[in-house]
């Protein structure tokens, strides 16, 4: 079942098109990744879907409710972790969460009940009475995520949840996301500009200058747009190139090795020619290659 359906969604900022007639579906319970460089239109899309930014044209259904007509129903069904922190710096974690809960009509007791299942996992006890401004980047992100869970949402939107975090905190955020999907069956819609972060998602949409340039599972995208590569460390010679031409005619010599592009399974080939091919690397196609192929740009 599709929990999000987007059709021809478009956003113009004063004549400048930021999102250009995009369409896609998100299945219930999946991890859906929205990938694109800075300025691609990720935040614009997420903000439209979260009802905080008016669409120019197009339509969307979120949790079965129509965007622009049943916004309050949508708001009750979603949680959002914004790209920039939106909690109050001078207030404690407790005060922040209780006030946010009140916007959904929840009493202090109800908020505490709601976050009880997450308290241990997100290590809230130790920072409960601390001011938000005194927290580390990783701790803040944890509180941001809990804030998004306060209304028990069906869908969790995260706008670049790992940007600006150190590798360890980034790892932890991913653990949390996995946990929410697994244990709570939540649908996760996230944006990122880290190619490799989309590896574990169920579906990926790649956005470039407001347009969807590719969509599919990571495996589909890789098989369509990324190629495996054999790097063979050897001296340049006509004999070697003869051998290479049996598997690919897309190759080049670089300093001390050949780069050979091919999608075939090379294990057998290398085994048969192990007398010649002694020093080599096999590099699997990555999401980086997908982006490179699609846009001709190296990913930042």
């Amino acid at each position: 079942m599709n929990i999000i359906e987007v059709r021809n969604l478009t956003k113009d900022y004063k004549g400048k098109r930021a999102v250009d007639s995009i369409s896609f579906d998100v299945e219930e319970g999946e991890l859906f990744a929205f990938l694109g460089e800075n300025g691609a239109g990720k935040s614009t899309t997420i903000n439209m879907l979260c009802t905080v930014l008016a669409k120019t044209t197009g339509s969307a259904f979120i949790a079965g409710k129509e965007l622009g007509k049943e916004d309050d129903e949508i708001r009750k069904a979603i949680g959002i972790v914004f790209q920039n922190s939106v909690l109050d710096r001078k207030l404690s974690v407790k005060e922040n969460l209780l006030t946010r809960g009140s916007y959904y009509g929840l009493s202090a007791r109800e908020v505490k009940e709601r976050i009880e299942p997450f308290k241990e996992r997100f290590e809230l006890d130790e920072i409960w009475n601390r001011r938000y401004e005194k927290l580390s980047g990783g701790q803040r992100r944890r509180v941001d995520i809990v804030r998004a869970l306060i209304n028990d949402p069906k869908i969790l939107f995260l706008d670049e949840p790992t940007t600006g975090l150190d590798p360890k905190s980034r790892r932890l955020v991913w653990d949390h996301i996995d946990y929410l999907r697994r244990e709570h069956g939540m649908t996760i819609f996230l944006t990122t500009h880290y190619m490799e972060e989309t590896r574990d998602s169920d579906h990926v949409v790649i956005l470039d200058k407001g347009n969807i340039i590719a969509k599919g599972t990571p495996a589909e995208l890789k098989s369509r747009y990324a190629h495996s590569k054999l790097v063979w460390y050897t001296a340049q010679s006509p004999d070697s190139e003869n051998l290479i031409s049996r598997i690919s005619n897309e190759f080049a010599y670089d300093a001390d090795h050949y780069n050979i592009v091919t999608d075939d399974d090379l294990t057998e080939f290398i085994y048969q020619n192990k007398k010649h091919i002694r020093d080599y690397e096999l590099i699997k196609g990555s999401m980086d290659d997908v982006f490179l192929t699609l846009t001709g740009k190296e990913f930042a």
Binding site: N47, C50, T51, V52, L53, A54, D72, R75, K76, I78, I80, F82, N84, S85, V86, D88, K90, L91, E95, L98, T99, R100, G101, S102, Y103, Y104, G105, L106, S107, N151
Partner: protein, 303 residues
């Protein structure tokens, strides 16, 4: 209702948790107080004795002292009525800058409630601070002497600071809509801090200025409220002084004093009675609230 209360509570907390902001919101009042201790008191007393002309031996210096102390209190109240609500309302600009408004609008909290809550929170903060100042002021003055205030005028003074808090907040909500970044709104606050003491006549009574300047200053509801507060705080002691003169001057001294210290707002060649000032402030507040409702509906979170 829980959502509205929750957001209002948050807006109030934001102000009180920021000690530095609270300090700066009271800076003008503090300056007025310090200047009073340094020399303003002397000039006020001189202005009073200057109009006495032979009554020096009749009017007790204790009464004169209490009178100028009351003038000081009105000045402190008047300036905080401007600076406190403005400081609170800066939350609107800061929220917009930090994207907090987007977060709030992603919840089922209705937009009209958001706008109303900013208004309520700031009015409440202003009322809390001004009535706190009023209470502390009245108690301190009570220890120093007798202002001869009736229970009714004490109560009415609290009403006046409430009206002042509401009307200033309504006016500033429109002004703050113009500021897109907190740096501009802070710059404007600097101007307010410097100007508010003059506008309400805390340093120099407004009567000393030309008609044009007086008219400009009395455009602001806070100036009218300050004049009103002077009446409420000081009519008791004025009557006391007048009766101690015993009709020798047919009340000329006290009416001259009331004119000197601007007990009534003067604007565009017209002298406002106290009730005239209240009506003026009510009209300004009402117009501001209507305009604010309209403007915010048009602009707030319309992207």
């Amino acid at each position: 209702m829980k959502d509205f209360m929750g957001f209002t509570r948050r807006n109030i907390l934001i102000y009180f948790k920021d000690i530095l902001a609270v300090f700066f919101s009271l800076l003008t009042s503090i300056i007025v107080f310090v200047l009073y201790l340094l020399f303003l008191k002397g000039t006020f007393v001189d202005a009073l004795t200057g109009t006495m002309k032979g009554l020096e031996n009749i009017v007790s210096s204790q009464d004169i002292e209490m009178f100028v102390n009351g003038i000081l209190l009105s000045g402190i109240l008047g300036s905080s009525m401007i600076t406190v609500p403005y400081t609170c309302l800066q939350t609107i600009v800061k929220d917009r800058e930090a994207g907090v408004d987007i977060d709030i609008c992603s919840t089922p909290l209705k937009r009209w409630k958001i706008v109303l809550s900013y208004f309520t929170a700031s009015s409440l903060c202003a009322f809390i601070m001004t009535s706190l100042i009023l209470t502390v002021g009245l108690i301190t003055l009570g220890f120093m002497g007798d202002l001869h205030m009736t229970a009714g005028s004490v109560l009415a003074s609290y009403g006046a600071v409430l009206l002042g808090s509401l009307s200033s907040t309504a006016l500033f909500m429109m002004i703050l809509l113009l500021f897109k970044s907190s740096s501009t709104s802070t710059a404007f606050f600097g101007i307010l801090t410097a100007a508010s003491g003059f506008v309400i006549g805390a340093y120099i009574p407004l009567s000393r200025f030309s008609d044009g300047v007086q008219s400009f200053c009395n455009l602001f509801p806070a100036s009218h409220i300050t004049a009103l507060i002077r009446n409420l705080l000081l009519s008791g002691i004025s009557d006391k002084i007048d009766s101690s003169i015993g009709g020798l001057d047919n009340g000329a001294f006290i009416s001259a004093v009331k004119e000197t210290f601007s007990f009534n707002a003067v604007a565009f060649g017209k002298t406002f009675s106290s009730s005239g000032s209240v009506i003026y402030v009510l009209i300004i507040a009402l117009v501001s609230i209507l305009a604010m409702t309209y403007l915010y509906k048009k602009t707030y979170m319309r992207r």
